[in-house]
Symmetry: C4
Subunit: 358 residues, 4 copies
């Protein structure tokens, strides 16, 4: 099989091959999908001011993340139910991540258990994404398993106290194929097909800052808060002692018309980047998007849907190819922007895009 040569082609092929329900789940966003579209558009509203003649024979895109050196700033975002895209599901994605030195973040709502995934991709740098369930016992077990099986960070998602309004799911009546196991949900007692109502039923809407303080105190793993969009909340997160923040709107899937990660990033960086790592996700499709995130002060970016397209098109190989394409583009972007060492990037490389800022 010849793999697609661009991420755009992966997207097209994946959209043709996925069944309507999983496609709606993967690609859809909240309500009118304005935020979904803006996640991509926001990066396009930034123009690059490239520097010439600095000598770019060698490029270095390494970064420091949670106190460790990383070869590059990409991370596989937590995404639920990956077995809907390919039989190997999260296992394949994690192996693709391992092959490209990319940290892999396992979703609470994975179609594989915490331990099984670790066994399937022992070489992957693994993080665990946590939805805090109403059933705090199961929640504790999940966190404990992550600690036991070598996961290096706990990514607590804070922007899904209830499931968002997603017209595409309402239209298709999507639920997870009952033949696919979702171990965390089973442990918490969910029976029957999992759809939006079941997810809402699992997750605790009363979660608040005091819970975060407790997690930080009780967990050995560094705690990363995912879903912060304002400087106010970032300051509060820093006060709780979290190790990092992911500036994110949950891929445009939760509350439509919230601002994008790209637009929320500068204020958060200004507020807390001296105290913790700031990551960002949403709409990363090109190497130039990654370059812009770094220039705005992010330490790393999470990549989501493109991995699912890769997975849907060609399993582990597809997911790996998507990561390689992005890394290749990032390398070219650093060369052409005159920033062979990515750590040199700062806001002087960017300006509001004239095509958007009129």
């Amino acid at each position: 099989m010849t793999l697609p040569s661009t991420i755009g082609e992966f997207e097209r092929v994946a959209q043709e091959s996925l069944a309507p329900g999983p496609l709606a789940y993967y690609d859809g966003g909240a309500c009118d999908e304005l935020t979904l579209a803006d996640n991509l558009a926001a990066w396009r509203r930034l123009a690059i001011r490239p520097r010439m003649l600095v000598g770019v024979a060698e490029r270095d895109c390494s970064t420091t993340l949670l106190g460790r050196e990383r070869e590059h700033p990409l991370i596989v975002a937590p995404m639920a139910f990956q077995a809907m895209a390919a039989p190997e599901g999260e296992r394949a994605t994690a192996r693709a991540a391992a092959a490209t030195a990319t940290p892999f973040c396992l979703s609470t709502l994975a179609t594989v258990g915490v331990q099984e995934l670790a066994a399937a991709a022992p070489d992957a740098t693994r993080w665990f994404q946590l939805y805090v369930f109403r059933d705090r016992g199961v929640t504790r077990e999940l966190v404990a398993a992550a600690g036991e099986h070598g996961y290096e960070a706990l990514v607590v998602t804070v922007d899904l106290p209830v499931f968002g309004v997603r017209d595409s799911l309402l239209r298709t009546g999507w639920t997870v194929d009952p033949e696919l196991a979702v171990p965390s949900a089973s442990a918490a007692g969910t029976r029957g097909p999992i759809g939006p109502a079941e997810v809402s039923e699992l997750i605790d809407p009363s979660l608040d800052w005091s819970d975060i303080e407790r997690f930080v105190a009780e967990t050995d793993l560094p705690v990363v808060l995912k879903g912060i969009l304002t400087a106010e909340d970032a300051r509060r997160a820093a006060a709780c002692g979290v190790a990092a923040i992911v500036v994110s709107n949950h891929g445009g899937r939760q509350l439509d018309t919230v601002l994008s990660g790209a637009d929320a990033l500068p204020a958060v960086v200004e507020e807390v980047s001296a105290q913790l790592d700031v990551l960002v996700d949403g709409g990363i499709r090109r190497g130039t998007d990654v370059l812009k995130a770094l220039a705005l002060g992010a330490s790393a970016v999470l990549v989501g849907r493109p991995l699912l397209w890769g997975l849907a098109v060609a399993g582990e190989q597809g997911a790996r190819r998507v990561l390689e394409l992005l890394l290749g583009e990032l390398d070219v972007a650093l060369a052409l922007a005159g920033a062979p060492n990515a750590r040199e990037l700062d806001a002087s490389w960017l300006m509001p895009a004239p095509w958007a800022s009129h």
Copy 2:
């Protein structure tokens, strides 16, 4: 019958099922329909700044309106000739309103009498919308009937001194089906089919502020002025002693290129919200639109066309489902925006949408 699962689907189904004339009347706007389109776009030009981790297990969207507590901030806007959409017309809409604790505003140009509607929906909170006719005797009778039959407010529409230029009506030659009764028009002597010219003929173009002062003085009901778009006029309305203002451009149906309610709202709120209730209408299609109106200082919002779509698709059940969908979305929006008590919303939850404010 399976009801549509989103308001967008209600719109599509309704547009396919309505005859060209009623469809043009319901959906059309003035001239080039720029204001019609902007009524929706204006809400989309506002982005939400959501707050996380505040604990949202319980949400409360209650509001205070005309001195009374209301469960939620939705009101059914006055809309004429509802029997064009479904045989039960206003009766069905009012029952749907009653079932969802939504005040129902009866149009002067209803296809049902003031008393009949009250009898058909005795549980509905009812308001009466008044077009001041050239025939002041009939006008007085209508107001008196509203008072006698338990209507709780008098909503005086001030932005239709003459009927607007609506190309879609000129093209379709729309008139109300002569078999449908319009009691107010009959009382005022209209004979033959009612079209734009007949409406203009009924309504008094000389209405001015002195008339409003008189209405306030002579009526026991609270007087609400509907159709104000400037702070100047809002101040004048406050000086007249009205109980509330509806910031509105008549659904984009009267003067094209006037500003939207959403854009007119902040200046009006700043000018008079200490003295009276400020309501808004135009383009409310999502729970997030309602949230934004509240954050801008509105006490409530009027919903129009979506009710007609519900009515056209499935009568009372359709109208009720539309209201339930909007209320459900509002509930989710409050949870996801981190404003479990809607009364806490203020302008800090909003910003100009980056996708529109470039």
Copy 3:
């Protein structure tokens, strides 16, 4: 024959009935037609702030123009070669103008002579538009004839020293049908079909401000300069003693990407409206456009292409209907904007359109 009920319908029907050459000549603009499109868009970038409850039973749209009272602010713009649209050509348009109390401006490049037009439409208020020919003898004769036959103003077009680049004419190879007489060109010695090159050949590209001074000194008629777009040129025109200026870009037909009349108007009004009348043209399609021009300080507006559509669809009756539609819309707009006397309009009725000014 049933006449179209909107100007938009006139446009559609005319575009289907005109031959490609004349259609290209009438509807086309310069190069990429950005200014052509912007002439319409510029009015749409202005929003109206309407006032309510001022009593609008009577509306008055009269204006004072070149020292005379006019019933309304519309003028038929000078347009060449009108016999391409209908056999009666300028005669029909002038009669339609007379029937609606609209001044008619005859083009130098008319398909009728100055005297013949006067004879054909004796009741029309007639102005004469002057292209200054290289042949100054013919130019003088044209001006003299205008004076003799009751034309009330001399409108000197200053923005066509050479013929603009119009792709649509290059593509269609348009020329005036040789069977149509163009008396002015014949008098100046043009032989064979008239196309862009022949027009350029007729007109004197060396025209400058000293010529204007001489015209003002030598002519009894008030001199109107048509084609001014900057305050600098307006000041100079005032210094020359002209009676009025038409802020115009020649219907987007001359230099693409110049600004629109609507956008150029405020600076010109501020500069010279104390000394002379400021008129505007370009893109007037709606009564609200006229209202906005008046609110920006124009004394009157010239209407062009819509008249040609009326003429092409139904000759004199079509042109008349177009004028009546516009006047009807203006009347409604005054009522709905709360400006029953058009002379009260000022900039407080306008604001940058929120849908365009983000």
Copy 4:
């Protein structure tokens, strides 16, 4: 054969006649082609403020470039592999340039040798564009040949240290037809078809400012740096003693989302125009684009793709016709803008386009 009458028609005909690979190479841009599109849009975001009545019977668009008088400000941009468009390739383009007094810039990656081109178009003013190869010996030979054969300037391209990401090439798998000779590549040892990887392999990514200083010191020819987009780099170039800068983003083909030449130009002009000539390229399609570049302070503009369209449609005659069309449009633009002497143009002729600057 009848030649197209507009550049737009040349584009359409060429796109239909070129094979997919060459078409992708010529027309494609980097990644999502945002910068490619913006190169055209940027000129359209500038509006012209035209002056009237200045007397425009004679127009003069001459300019001074590298110390020499030129009849007009157009230059044929360096473009690789022109034999893909027509058998005569660069020879035909150079002859078209000669026929219109336009300097012709030969690409390093031409499908003709430096000497052969000089022999084929002895009357053309010739410049040589230099990619600095890893093989510095071949590089020296190319520069020496340019000097020997009467090339008047050395245009060093600095924005291609590596080949950009071009989806259209990845999709089509484009390589240069192996039957076409690329003498420079052959001299440097390239074997087999030339595609993106081969170009990257040829060019030295370590090029830096010290190399430029050396070129200036070692070469008799004036050195022009092509590919500068910031004032910082322009200042550095001036310090190196280069004779001119071409503000350019390589036709949108290298790093997507960099700013356009039109937008980068003003800051560069302000920084260094007192010391060296500033040229610009990217998106020049109309005479008004040239006028705007001059008004922003450019001494000349490079024209690229339109020449390839002319070449593809009709060889030398097509390329010549394209240049004549542009020069004709520039002449008309000067007349209609009231700038009969192009050297008088300055920023007062421009304003942000109202249609874009809202």
